[in-house]
Subunit: 454 residues, 2 copies
Amino acid sequence: MALAEAAAKTFAPRPFLAASKQFAAGAETPRAYLERCLAAIDEHEPAVGAFVTTDIAGARKSADAASERWRAGKPRSAIDGMPVGIKDIIETHDMPTQMGSPLFEGWRGERDAAAVYALRAAGAVIVGKTVTTEFAATHPRGTRNPHDPRRTPGGSSSGSAAAVATGMVSAALGTQVVGSILRPSSFCGAVGFKPTVGAINRGGSHDFLSQSCTGPIAATLEDAWVAAREIARRVGGDPGFPRLAGPMTPPPAKKPRALALLETPGWPVATDGARKELERAVARLRAAGIAILTRRDTPLVEKIERALTEAMPITRAINEWEFVWPLNDYHRRDASALSESMRERLKTAEAMDEGKYEELIAERARIRALHAELAAVADAAVTLSAPGAAPVGLGWTGDPIFVVSGSLLGVPAVSLPLLEDEGLPLGLQVLGFAQRDAELVATAAAIRDTVGSK
Amino acid sequence: MALAEAAAKTFAPRPFLAASKQFAAGAETPRAYLERCLAAIDEHEPAVGAFVTTDIAGARKSADAASERWRAGKPRSAIDGMPVGIKDIIETHDMPTQMGSPLFEGWRGERDAAAVYALRAAGAVIVGKTVTTEFAATHPRGTRNPHDPRRTPGGSSSGSAAAVATGMVSAALGTQVVGSILRPSSFCGAVGFKPTVGAINRGGSHDFLSQSCTGPIAATLEDAWVAAREIARRVGGDPGFPRLAGPMTPPPAKKPRALALLETPGWPVATDGARKELERAVARLRAAGIAILTRRDTPLVEKIERALTEAMPITRAINEWEFVWPLNDYHRRDASALSESMRERLKTAEAMDEGKYEELIAERARIRALHAELAAVADAAVTLSAPGAAPVGLGWTGDPIFVVSGSLLGVPAVSLPLLEDEGLPLGLQVLGFAQRDAELVATAAAIRDTVGSK
């Protein structure tokens, strides 16, 4: 089945920047745009389950205010009127933040997280809170893949990806510490953008680990960039980290001279279909005159590939220890309210030798330094975003083996919905270099334009 | 007036480790120890105002449980039964966390912060929440200096220092981003210990800035060390940072070979009395055969002194930007609930040029690297903890000019109550090197033993 058949589907992601040109021209309003999102919610939400909470009345009010500003020629930003979803691990003053856990049922933090404050200040229309796995980790909370309800949407930003893929919102905030932005984007057919670690202020987000990063899932790379930049301009990055810098408008496509092709530790588990898709994409890039460096012809790439075989075990152990709090506090409150996987995680952390964590972060720093050398010979790296299409079953959010490397490295990464497997979406991943997010997006745009969709 | 007269005072800090030997011997119980703290609260709290909230019944229950454990020969840790206060910027599941702001009146986060969880797990007895200035910044909230009620106790850990100085608790958690642990310790006559930045997990503390650090204020250096280590062993440091490492027991005093004497930008505003006290202390150190390196004889010290002239403006600007969120969210909720100083801070942050913050943190990193060179020639640095005694007036928490350097540098620092000014306590500050907290404490113990109290 080819993706062309997906045209028969009744949903698609909903680009915003293109539509906002119509707002400026007076041919369209944010309120009318929102109503199309709400119609998509009516149509798809019952089968998909992307939202934990919605605030339709509040969204309409915000969209009306945005409509008024565009009409007056005074939009607050390029995303004024953009309907967005907020992953339910991130605080909102007007909706509960339930973190995918019964321990936080109905809990309200009473403040807007930094990214939420910034989105509102930029005029974005907050439609609701999207489903997260338990504490943005592994235990799923019921969202279904809109392309096939038997399949996972991926996680942990399950609801954000599903809501964007179905056009219920234009964009949604996700968070990633292993693969939680790029994996669901790949499985649902959306663009995922994980900025450089620290580049978007995580204040008020309960995804607090050292590799965690907030980033948008959106219909287009351009929408994702602009939403992320509008946030960073207003609230910066995490304390102590450089913010997402670059132009306020989408970086124009810039053809790379050379790209590294990474197999990552995921290659042995990739499906035949996925491998062929990546090879097809790479062939197009080569045909366009872009040099492709692989482990077979470039010793540095081979060294990086070897180092990345440790990406998953190092990440897992780092996350386990960093979760020792608050998990021990939650365990004290009600151990039965934690999933089995969370209880196991706590047990492993409590058994960790003192000093092990410092070894892990030192090893991570060494791998980051090694990868940074790649910038001298390649503009970015490409690989798959997942071993294949979203797996069948709602008990597992799928394998993050292709996307964990970007998290470990702390580099910016995007997943572009350019490939397919089993007739379902599959992302092409592009990885950049730390603090060079705008260059990554420019390179990714060129890759998209070169590879095209099938 | 000499500090000897302070003996006439009815209060003094209350050491714990010495007392706990009596618990082990069966000659004393944590409950009886707590009762003496509670008597001190009855006597001094009305005049001092160190607490926002107390939980006397809960403390007695915890102390009884600790008494039972010591009796059974199974204490949870060396601080089992230690009565502690928690700065009210740090979450506790059983008491509100009000952050010194009317915006958080009665607010409950429903979880124990990492350090609080760890203290409880180690058996510590949480007596109450201690007064913090508004959001652990500058606006004071009424605590008085126990040595003179007309004077400030210092801030932002105002209540923690005052409660420890009067023996209402043995130790209390403070947080410092400019001078908020060491300054009140100096003014109240307690030991303050600010670990290396990141070394104690700040999860659930709302002092979230990049220079912020959680640390204990205690009666003795040994108590401070053990309390901090018991926390770090259980919950580690901030995500991505090495935890406070070292022995679980207090590092034994180790005489330094050489110390740098720093004037810091504070020297021009130090009182004559304070200067003489520092000179007296340095003379004793010299007499003990410790080399003292100064800006006049050591070019590297001169370079560091020059770099540190920027400590306050860089710190202030970094903090302003890092506070842009959540201040803008609080401002949206109720601008009139913010102090004038907080509203000014927000205004300055909002006016900051994009990119300025990245310049500031890059400059901070350069100064840190320069200071790190000092480790090759000196075991630590010494200076005052404040320009003099606590100033008269409750509208200002005093000048942090002597302690901001340690915060900017991110290095561990202690304030030892060895000096005096106007017959009131004044701290001798000892600054170490990042991730070498145990060595700093060993050096500080030797300095204390050498300088003695007047």
